[in-house]
């Protein structure tokens, strides 16, 4: 692992695919798809190497990279030097997120086989999106983070707007407007922090903001800190999404092609949670503590709101979209609890929901490809015609509703374990969400798979070979985390300790 520029190679490896693709004729469908798929593999392999090396005891510090980039101000005067460096680095949490991103990117590239047109442009944007996502998690510098954050925005916009379903443009625009506004708010916070402290490095910022007498260029009042935290909450709340900033995300889930939704629900939404934990909790620990109650309340609201709305949807994709909102409520609940169990639960939920949402949307893609519909009513009795797909759909639903032995349970359990310690009454009202999750998921999934067959399944083939790969990988990971959660919790130990130290727990 003592490779120089290991992380840079990891983050930018998909660019190689873009380069190759740009020299290829746009009509070579299968070749383009193969190259697009292959281009996701280097990142996957490298991230797995990093993960296993870390598990084997290697330190992550040796992966840090730092190249001086932009400097201005008076270097002679202490604290008056403004510098932006190109800094990449990893801790346990971001390492896990990078592995998740790499895995889901590869699987989504397989799911992209269903894409029907302009494969070349699609895969170039797809790979650019992957660069952005990997970069977001690897960036050690707020400004670099922001650049990667924006890089994810643009390809997603085009991927939704061009390759989505009927109302794709609408969905793409509301995606862009909401996230654009969120980015603008984020940029303001980053700029204020940078202008006041002269650094954008995350660790340096954490130290500067939490020491009593930092070498600040200009001091920051408590009110201002609170304001910035709320701004961060809005910026990442749009992404997560937090009620009532969620409606763009429902449209995206319904209109985007399934392969993109896999990435969107699996990784992009998680940037919101990642940002809240990394920056919100890391840079403003004191303010975060005073907001924790509200976060928990918002979490319960998200959980219940999403669950009740998912209960009355007729389109399976809508059910899943509201289910995502509901599940992100669990992340907020965990963060609001602000103890080890809660935060660990929130991080688990981030990973777990990424895998489960990807699985379910992949399956949506599988039967949408065959029936051109995802309306529950029109699909009834799927188990008769496609027993394997139906079985996996049921498995996905079970994982999503938190069945023990699957990853959803561990995260849900820990988040509630945490919240019950701090706010038992709120937590108890949140448990209604656990029941409602079972209700809406069973209603939707049994509506699709069980019951009398509503259509003729003659000529419909069950899952093909290449479709098995993503499903088996995802189910395998979900069960692995559910049965042996240490696979996630051990890499997280040091990150959690740092966070708990920050909030004085």
């Amino acid at each position: 692992m003592n490779l120089a520029y290991f992380l840079s190679i990891l983050v930018f490896s998909p660019l190689l695919g873009i380069l190759v693709l740009s020299f290829m004729p746009r009509t070579q469908e299968s070749l383009i798809k193969t190259v697009g798929f292959l281009a996701t593999l280097p990142a996957l392999v490298l991230s797995l190497i990093a993960y296993f090396q870390y598990r084997a005891g290697a330190g992550l510090e040796q992966l840090n990279e730092k190249v001086s980039w932009i400097q201005f101000g008076d270097s002679g005067q202490l604290g008056n030097l403004f510098s932006i460096d190109y800094e990449l680095g990893l801790d346990g949490f971001s390492l896990i997120m990078i592995v998740l991103t790499a895995v889901l990117s590869t699987l989504a590239a397989i799911a992209s086989i269903h894409i029907k047109k302009e494969w070349k442009g699609y895969f170039m944007l797809f790979l650019l999106l992957e660069v952005g996502m990997l970069g977001v998690f690897a960036a050690e510098n707020l400004i670099l983070f922001f650049i990667f954050f924006e890089i994810t925005l643009i390809p997603t916009f085009f991927l939704i707007g061009k390759w989505g379903y009927y109302e794709k443009e609408n969905a793409a625009y509301s995606f862009l407007i909401y996230n654009g506004l969120g980015s603008a708010v984020l940029l303001i916070v980053i700029m204020v922090l940078f202008a006041r402290t002269g650094t954008a490095n995350i660790d340096a910022l954490m130290a500067a903001m939490n020491a009593d007498n930092p070498q600040l260029v200009a001091p920051i009042s408590e009110n201002m800190k609170m304001g910035m935290l709320i701004a961060l909450l809005i910026a990442f709340g749009v992404k997560l999404p937090i009620f009532p900033l969620h409606s763009w995300m429902v449209r995206v889930h319904v209109q985007a092609p399934p392969s993109i939704v896999m990435l969107h629900a699996g990784v992009l939404l998680k940037i919101g949670a990642f940002g809240l934990i990394r920056f919100g909790m890391g840079i403003f620990p004191e303010q975060f503590q005073s907001l924790a109650v509200w976060l928990a309340v918002l979490g319960v609201v998200n959980l219940l709101y999403g669950a009740f709305l998912a209960f009355v949807q007729t389109d399976f994709k809508m059910v899943l979209a509201y289910s995502s909102i509901s599940h992100m409520g669990i992340v907020l609940i965990g963060l609001g609890a602000l103890n080890e169990a809660g935060i660990q639960g929130a991080i688990f939920q981030v990973v777990s929901h990424g895998l489960i949402a990807a699985l379910l949307f992949f399956l949506v893609g599988v039967f949408y490809e065959r029936f051109q519909t995802s309306t529950i009513q029109n699909l009834g009795g799927l188990a008769k015609g496609m027993p394997i797909t139906a079985g996996f759909l049921l498995a996905g639903a079970m994982a999503s509703l938190g069945l023990p032995g699957m990853s959803g349970f561990v995260s849900e359990f820990m988040a509630f374990l945490g919240l019950f310690k701090e706010m038992p009454i709120l937590a108890a009202s949140g448990t209604i969400g656990i029941i409602m999750t079972a209700v809406y998921l069973l209603r939707a999934v049994l509506g699709i798979t069980y019951g009398k067959a509503h259509r003729d399944f003659a000529g419909i083939t069950d899952m093909k070979k290449f479709e098995f790969v993503p499903v088996l990988v995802l189910v395998g990971l979900i069960v692995l985390i559910g049965v042996y959660p240490s696979v996630l919790s051990e890499p997280l130990t040091s990150t959690l300790e740092t966070i708990m130290l920050g909030i004085g727990g």
């Binding site: 969620h246 009740f308 080890e340 023990p404 937590a427 959660p485």
Partner: protein, 622 residues
């Protein structure tokens, strides 16, 4: 042997995995895989049980998950209750596996059925050797999954789909209670381990209110799983599943898990008189409530289902009356005779292809093996002396009396009367008299089905003798050995209780005989006198209707309300955000009309504004 007890649940798990992967190729040979693996579990369980007679409790654990300083563990424990449950579960499971080979023959999804049975057995065995609450919850949910899958086995039937969904959701409501209780208990006792919780309770580390609260919350979980009032409605509907499943899951094992849970946590409950009282009252009420519904049902499996609910109520009453031994004892005997009754009912259904008892009759002569076995089961459940049910029911009544629950005691006695009546009503209507419909080609089931019934029939008779006031209370003494928190192995009770119990059951049998056997009483002399109560009973007290009116509609109402909120408020927010953005854009584009003079004006105005600001602030913006 006990060190390796963890292997017992793994056999059925292997069977599940193997059949899910290769079942399609094996077809009906899958049955042998399932039977062999459960046989292995059974043999091992028996060895463990015998080992446990002479050795102390064995417990082994490892870290499962670390949260900060807290380590959550997983492992297994073999104490008296666990060892007994292991044998009961693996025995019934093995018998049902064997029976199903005949019953399910010809089904398209034969391997899937065996795979699901394996999954369920794995979860149930895992449940009974769990050393802590978290692990118990883990398997608690998994048995729910197995039950759900098997109820919905005939997935193309709308009723099966609805029943599976209902079972899952109703039990989940209870599970949430269990989850909350368990987490609260964790933050009080600092552990999920049974031992440490009991130690904390004993040391007085937990306040009395907290004990009561957590105990009742955990009891809600048991209520959901064991089909106690008011969460009982899923259990009769669960009869949509194949009959062997009803015998295994919805009679002998899973539904008894609620009773098992209360028994396993007995020291916690015993520390709170209120909690015990709650358990006893719910149990006694359920016993008589379900028995009264069972009086008038027409579906053979539904009668048995309500009987199960009622008997589980008995066990709860026993535990709530501090009769730990009585509850566990009845759990064991009930597992045998109820599984027998279900398998026999399955054999009847297999022969006549209907479940409606109005259409049956006179089957005694045609089903020469099933008939007598069904009679044994009926006698046992009715509490006729010398059969197993007699001894365990007697223990329960004594416990209730000794604990001072006089009212509940009399409720239980009435419920015993009802039980004897409806069970013999069932027996007489199915087996005696003339066939009420055309019954051709009625054959006795193959020996692969009758042999398991014979085994259960023997057990239904002799299982009671492990704990009798006449020959010795071996089971009771062994169960409470080394653990004073569980109470006494045997509670002395007045002799008249045994006489009363015998009398009411004989009375019930006699009445049933008069009405359905000898028919000297018209079948509807009671129903015609009380049409209102008959229809209330026949419609199960309208509980389902009540739930669909309140809970289901309530959820729908909230959802539609929130949908309005979503459409108007949240979408309105979106509209306003997009509106403002595009309005700003349109405003900006107005200035770009291609007229050079407009551009000039804008530039000039802009400059003027800057100059004014500069003049007012006297320099750069501060």
């Amino acid at each position: 042997m006990m060190e390796n007890a963890w292997i017992i649940p793994l056999f059925p798990l292997l069977s599940f995995l193997f059949l899910i992967l290769f079942g399609k190729r094996l077809k009906e040979a899958s049955a042998y895989i399932g039977i062999l693996f459960t046989l292995a579990s059974l043999v091992y369980s028996l060895l463990v049980l015998f080992d446990r007679f002479s050795a102390p409790t064995y417990k082994a654990e490892g870290v499962w998950l670390t949260i900060g300083d807290v380590q959550l563990t997983a492992g297994f424990e073999v104490n008296q209750l666990n060892a007994l449950m292991l044998v009961i579960v693996s025995l019934v499971s093995f018998l049902v596996h064997t029976y199903s080979k005949g019953y399910m023959q010809g089904d398209d999804r034969f391997p899937v059925f065996y795979a699901y049975l394996g999954l369920f057995t794995f979860a149930m065995l895992g449940l009974v050797i769990s050393p802590n609450l978290l692990q118990t919850y883990f398997f608690w949910e998994l048995v729910g999954l197995g039950s759900f899958l098997l109820i919905g086995f005939y997935f193309y039937k709308e009723e099966a789909k609805a029943a599976a969904k209902k079972a899952f959701i109703m039990t989940r409501i209870g599970d949430v209670g269990l989850l909350i209780g368990m987490i609260l208990l964790f933050w009080q006792a600092g552990s999920f381990e049974y031992d440490e919780i009991f130690a904390a309770v004993e040391a007085g580390a937990i306040s009395g209110t907290m004990i009561t609260l957590t105990a009742i919350l955990i009891f809600i979980g048991a209520v959901g799983k064991s089909g106690q009032f008011p969460l009982h409605t899923w259990l009769p509907d669960a009869m949509e599943g194949p009959t062997p499943v009803s015998a295994l899951i919805h009679a002998a094992t899973m539904v008894a898990a609620g009773v098992y849970l209360v028994a396993a946590l007995f020291p916690l409950f015993a520390a709170s008189e209120t909690a015990l009282m709650t358990v006893a009252v719910i149990g006694a009420f359920t016993a008589i409530f379900a028995a009264s519904i069972g009086l008038v049902q027409k579906d053979i499996k539904r009668v048995l289902a309500y009987s199960t609910v009622s008997q589980l109520g008995y066990m709860m009453l026993a535990l709530g009356s501090a009769g730990y031994v009585a509850g566990v004892f009845h759990l064991m005997t009930h597992a045998f005779f109820k599984a027998l009754l279900f398998l026999a009912a399955g054999s009847v259904i297999h022969a006549v292809h209907t479940q409606n008892i109005e259409h049956m009759g006179g089957l005694w002569k045609k089903l020469r093996v099933t008939g007598p076995l069904f009679l044994i089961g009926t006698l046992a459940i009715s509490g006729v002396p010398l059969f197993s049910g007699f001894f365990s029911k007697d223990e329960i009544l004594i416990a209730a009396w000794a604990h001072g629950n006089t009212l509940l005691f009399w409720l239980a006695v009435i419920a015993a009367f009802f039980t004897a009546f409806y069970m013999f009503r069932l027996f007489f209507m199915v087996f005696t008299g003339e066939a009420r419909t055309d019954m051709k080609n009625v054959h006795e089931s193959p020996s692969v089905m009758t042999l398991p019934m014979v085994v259960l029939g023997v057990l239904a008779v002799v299982a009671g003798y492990v704990n009798t006031p006449w020959f010795g209370t071996f089971l009771g003494d062994w169960l409470v050995e080394d653990n004073h928190a569980l109470g006494h192995g045997h509670i002395e009770g007045p002799v008249w209780i045994m006489i009363v119990a015998t009398a009411v059951s004989l009375l019930g049998i006699f009445l049933a005989w008069l009405m359905y056997g000898k028919r000297s009483l018209s079948r509807d002399w009671l129903t015609s006198r009380m049409p209102l109560s008959y229809s209330v009973l026949y419609n199960k007290y309208y509980i389902d209707e009540f739930y669909s009116l309140t809970v289901v509609n309530g959820a729908k109402f909230i959802s539609s309300f929130l949908r309005l909120l979503e459409v108007f408020l949240v979408e309105g927010l979106v509209k306003s955000v997009t509106g403002i953005t595009s309005a700003l854009g349109r405003l900006g584009s107005k200035f770009h009309n291609g007229q050079i003079q407009t551009y000039g004006t804008v530039a000039f105005v802009g400059l003027a504004i800057l100059v004014v600001i500069y003049a007012f602030t006297g320099g750069y913006l501060k």
